[in-house]
Symmetry: C2
Amino acid sequence: MTEKYVIGLDYGTDSARAVIVNTLTGAELASSVKYYPRWGQGKYCNPDTNQYRQHPQDYIDVLEASVKEALAKCPEGTAAKIAGISFDTTGSTPVFTDEAGTPLSLLPEFAENPNAMFVLWKDHTAIKEAAEINALAGKWDINYVDYEGGIYSSEWFWAKSLHVLRADAAVRAKAYSIVEHCDWMPALITGASKASEIKRGRCSAGHKAMWLEKWGGLPAEDFLTALDPMLGGFRERLYRDTYTSDVAAGNLSEEWASRLGLSTDVVVGVGAFDCHMGAVGAGITPHTFVRVIGTSTCDIMVSSYEEMGDKLIRGICGQVDGSVIPGYVGLEAGQSGFGDIYAWFKKVLEFPIKNIIGASELIDAETKEKLIQEACDKIIPELSKEAEKIPASESTILATDWMNGRRTPDANQLLKGTITGLTLGSTAPRIFRALVEATAFGSKAIVERMRNEGVQIDSVIGIGGIALKSPFVMQTMSDVLNMPIKVCKTDQACALGAAMFAATAAGIYPKVEDAVQAMNSGFAFEYFPNAENAKIYEHIYEYYVKVGQFTEKELFC
Amino acid sequence: MTEKYVIGLDYGTDSARAVIVNTLTGAELASSVKYYPRWGQGKYCNPDTNQYRQHPQDYIDVLEASVKEALAKCPEGTAAKIAGISFDTTGSTPVFTDEAGTPLSLLPEFAENPNAMFVLWKDHTAIKEAAEINALAGKWDINYVDYEGGIYSSEWFWAKSLHVLRADAAVRAKAYSIVEHCDWMPALITGASKASEIKRGRCSAGHKAMWLEKWGGLPAEDFLTALDPMLGGFRERLYRDTYTSDVAAGNLSEEWASRLGLSTDVVVGVGAFDCHMGAVGAGITPHTFVRVIGTSTCDIMVSSYEEMGDKLIRGICGQVDGSVIPGYVGLEAGQSGFGDIYAWFKKVLEFPIKNIIGASELIDAETKEKLIQEACDKIIPELSKEAEKIPASESTILATDWMNGRRTPDANQLLKGTITGLTLGSTAPRIFRALVEATAFGSKAIVERMRNEGVQIDSVIGIGGIALKSPFVMQTMSDVLNMPIKVCKTDQACALGAAMFAATAAGIYPKVEDAVQAMNSGFAFEYFPNAENAKIYEHIYEYYVKVGQFTEKELFC
């Protein structure tokens, strides 16, 4: 067997990374990270209205730059051994295209129009449209949100599309189709020249666009036009069929083969969302709860058809046949805030450092800047160090983790966070400990929901920044979940997952499970629950639930 | 009329101040503050168990030092014009004495025994005993806690006395009587040589020892011995009668006239608690809610016999005929945490300054110390400045003010504080604003309770550190209470009140109201409610009540 390589391309919120991987061993040969230039300048975004848009040219720029840089780091001759490329991206991140499948903002007349750009996953401009979808779905003879966990989110495909159509007459006039970021990348480099030619991934279609095989695909035309006549005709021009990511989208086009310095023999796989491919990169199997843990979490499971039967899992972010591994139902869940909650508390504590020390005349400007930087950088490590020393038996401060709303169970963006049990003796590390416990309780709420809905969970795998770098957080989570948690060696699980799919799409492995078997990174370490703490936390969790129910019912409704 | 002076002696938690006042005008001639030396070293205290004891020698040392220093600042001949001295002290702060009325810790064998010392108001070692008193009172044919707001506190006379008796066999064997700090000071300097000679103040007896005229004084012997046989005999040896503070306790003894450089003609008034005399110093009248606002608040009202009738005001800290102004019923209430809550948040924010900048090697030790001091000192001013800019309409963070438990309404030391409505955009100033609002809501809860129980409140007077120094806090309180708040000019209202009582006890004025008329300091400024904010806060207050009810019922019970 010749040594073959594949390229996993992972498109995150701020940057993309290209990782070149040996298909026999999974070893990383080289990688390159490139930041989106326009996005980095804050262009096309408005945090006040939660408008977050990304220009397709950003995606193109970093694609070329990252692949070329990664290849340049490899031994000569590597380019010739590249057999496949697959993409994972954030999502739901849709864009309107013309008939050729070109995102409208790549046309000169729309080049600076945010409504003609990709609407990033975290854009919350479509809250009203999501509410309309939920209301209509509840009344329709088919409840199209049944497989989306029962609640459609403002972060998703149809809500965003409808919002943009309503907001922008020029886009409305030109819009022919709509495409997710993860589907557009393969279309771009395989040279698709018609919107109708774009192979649509099962993952984005099923989790975000209410696509279901048994419904004949997307929601019925009359449902969409009942939402708004502006949606009329799109269903027909979008797609009937979707593809799992072990399938090839096509071969590299001449143009892109030349731009990337690769051959047109390179197979390009069907794209999917980052966390779904990340779960594969982490070695997901049934009954394993895979968590991508960063600013927020995205949690993925796979379940066999036998286990799932006709079950509808309430309050998660969707259940989609083949969205993770073909032949299994993929389940998605997540916490809206995780590391972001720690970062919020850090920012609160930075106030006197930035506002008072920042204005002090006791030290010179240069020292001041260094001192402030040092102080801010050390806040979370120092809080963790001190919080870790506090025994769980002294965890008398209780917090909920809804400072950024709640994603799972039962998405609700209106919810807010609470800290209670405060006394005059509540120190910053004690509060931090409560916040860490809150994020772990939020994790438990997801696990409990899955189990209550009949999904078996035996173990946990963590990937992402926090999983690798925050032993205190991970140990607390293990104690609260009362389950061991394994942490993957790779810090590029998403790109590695994309590489596994690329190897499968290129025919090197018959099934992605075989690629996982050969190419996985193994585990760096494993956390085991402390039985005593687990007992304490089981008790505190009851209060977490109580506080949550009270605030949800009485305050933020 | 000859120019006469009086000395108001105000014994606070950490220090005592002697203020020499002109009886004609109320003008302050001189003052002196002296800190308790043993207390300052942390002696006899254990914050872990909330044990706070003060040595009587501390009180003696500062008495002599402060009076002498204040006199030394006055023109020659002033000492000869001193007509009276009165004391206000913290309370309930009782001590066991021998038959001579000497606090046991002034005897050599008890000199270092904390149980033989004054048990400071904030000592919480007697929680169990308070619970026993409440339980027994509920079953007894006379409910002895009826006039204490219905709940006896661990901070009060009988609970503390019983706790010490149980804890210390040596004290138990020697204990003959028990005396409050405010009663012992006059006894000391008038040369009382028997415990039975000590004139007991109405204020401490009524508010803290369950003394009531219609019950024939203190609770019945069988009630006390049913609590614990150890209490047997004390009632008989304590007192039947009590005195309002316009009455003289006696004249200065030869010894103390000599020690203080004064004449034995000086009349010493009956003592009372600091806030009660402070309310008089502030010019209290019926329907005025006088608040001593510092780390916590003590709130005082006076009500005519006609208005009070047979009313029992639930959940306050007692209603006592003559405890503030003779001829009126004095009502006491308060918030367990006020400025302490701001200080707590300050301490939370200090964490990175002290722990990270404190350990930094980027600046030299001396600069570091200055920088840390500067940063810590400016936290509350800077928070106030920023919080003040936020419109009340944006007050979406909601807090309760129970970080130190709740005093009024319905004392409950088990309660804890809550902050809810938190988002990733909740900045330190926004949280601080919520805490300031929380303390104002806590104030409103007291006002509402008073009104619901039939006590009319028309206006508010503020005294104490926060009243004079925190316009943002006072404006918020005015908005939340929807009432104007006047702030006294004097920053020594308690000592001024003691001076007014001294002038009355010395016969310069027939009634303390006349002394108030002549000697009051007037008002420094007045806050008026902003109608728009008042409306917003009325709405938020409903949520404050909801959150409070939930946490009290479901979490801290």
